[in-house]
Amino acid sequence: MSWVNLLGLVFVLGTVWGIKLMSSPVTAVKGNLLGSVSMAGAIILTLLAEGIVSLPLLWVAIAMGTLFGYYLAVKVAMIQMPQMVALLNGFGGGSSAIVSLLALLGILGDISNADRLTSGLGLVIGSITLSGSLIAAAKLHGKMNQRPIVFKGQSTWNNLTLLAIGILFASLLVIPSDGITQGAFWILVLSSAYGVLFTIRVGGADMPITISLLNSFSGIAASISGFAVRNPLLVAIGAIVGASGLILTRLMCKAMNRSLSQVLAGRTVLMSKKPDPGVTSIDEDHLSRKRRTPDGEDQDDFLSQIRSAKSVIVIPGYGMALAQAQHEVKKLADILEGMNKKVKFAIHPVAGRMPGHMNVLLAEADVPYDELFEMDDVNDEFKETDIVIVVGANDVINPAANTAEGTPIYGMPILRAYEAKHVVIFNLDTKPGYAGVDNPLYSMDNATLILGDAAETVLQVASRLQDTASSG
């Protein structure tokens, strides 16, 4: 084995070890550093091994990419992390597409049929990743309508596009070399179009699945372009990323009770059968009697219940992120802990717009990570919990998921907040969540609704509690 391959192996192992260190928050920072050092090593190794260290063009390009990447990473706010990841995904996919394209065009010398297929496939997946990720980023950043864009015959168009890509791809085996440029051009165009078609019909709550899938694609694209340029490092590290994205995609699917094939076919939440309004309708009169304002006359019942509670579980949702209420929630948690209550946070896997989104937002607000609990670890505790505080979450606590057959959320695992002795809900309004199913929890006897901007209402309740805590 040559020294190049040996060093390459060391960097792959460094990368794997880095990910291994990511399995605990204590060592994760080191793991990430190890990963970046391995990557830097791999870049230098490639420059040396190919004898291209002294090309100024490469260094200019490296410097430009580094500066722009640095700028993005320093500027981005934590709530924008999903679109940041989507955008970077797109850039990686785009780069893989270009590498595969140039290999297909024969700049590395004459290519065999096998090379034509690998570079063609790299071009397909890279282009889908690029256009799909850019659409996802635009949606997440509010530059595009976040609702799914659905038009008549969309599935047919999707399938036709896929079929055309397949035919073009297979034809790479037979077309003469002077026809390759044209073939590559059409593969690029159609694959990019497919990425757009695939992503525009994805809406808000489906984003965690889509982002995970695109993440996987970007790895697979890198790995296949590694085949095209015969670089083992690229093949190995790309494959690891592909596996990672696939695992996360599967977890997200499970948390939304959807199969991967449904997602690949583009069947999103809103495309499912309309919910039967009779099943989960809410009695508006009853609901209005349950509403409280944080500074009104009729607040004493739930405030006294909070005061006498011993155990509290907080459930944050994407509404908390939108209201940027995580700091207020942390303040409320501090006050409750100051009153000698046990406070835990319960995190649903698909809360937010990407896997683990809520954990990052709460960590940003200085909530210690040992107070954050996964759904399966905390779900049995709700029935012994005195107070559940919901902030901007809806579908993930909707008991209709257990009972309302035929609705989009039926069968989706939820946080069993309804089992708690009392539930206080800080939501903007009582409109159904993204899935469009009314939440019967709102009208249950043990629930109190506090409607409005969570950043304000949570703070108001927090200061009322503080007043009584210090005076009493």
């Binding site: 390009a61 780069s95 372009s225 085949f227 995190i347």
Partner: protein
């Protein structure tokens, strides 16, 4: 390197990757994703090669664009992951607040 060796490498890396990543708790899934995202910028290695080898100016510039895109992916991904991971603190670490939770 022959295609079959690369294919074997692909399979082995997928299996190992699967094993290692399954151990990462959902607490860290966002940083995991941005971290592996940075790793997908490994395509920069291929980009460097094609940019260096290409003879025609157009192809050469296209290769340079691929290097830029991949480097944004690598640097942006690792840095933002670092920023996130630094925020995760254990109860006892956050400024002297007493924490009764285990």
């Amino acid at each position: 390197m022959s295609l079959s060796i690369l294919l074997a490498l692909f399979l082995v890396a997928s299996v190992i990757g699967h094993k290692v990543i399954s151990d990462v708790p959902s607490l860290l899934h966002t940083p995991l994703m941005s971290g592996t995202n940075a790793l997908s910028g490994v395509t920069v290695l291929g980009a460097l090669t094609v940019a260096a080898v290409a003879k025609a100016t157009g192809y050469r510039l296209l290769g340079a664009v691929a290097v830029i895109l991949a480097m944004i992916n690598v640097v942006g991904g690792f840095l933002v992951t670092h920023r996130m991971l630094k925020m995760f603190k254990k109860g006892t670490e956050s400024e002297g607040r007493e924490n009764v939770m285990g």
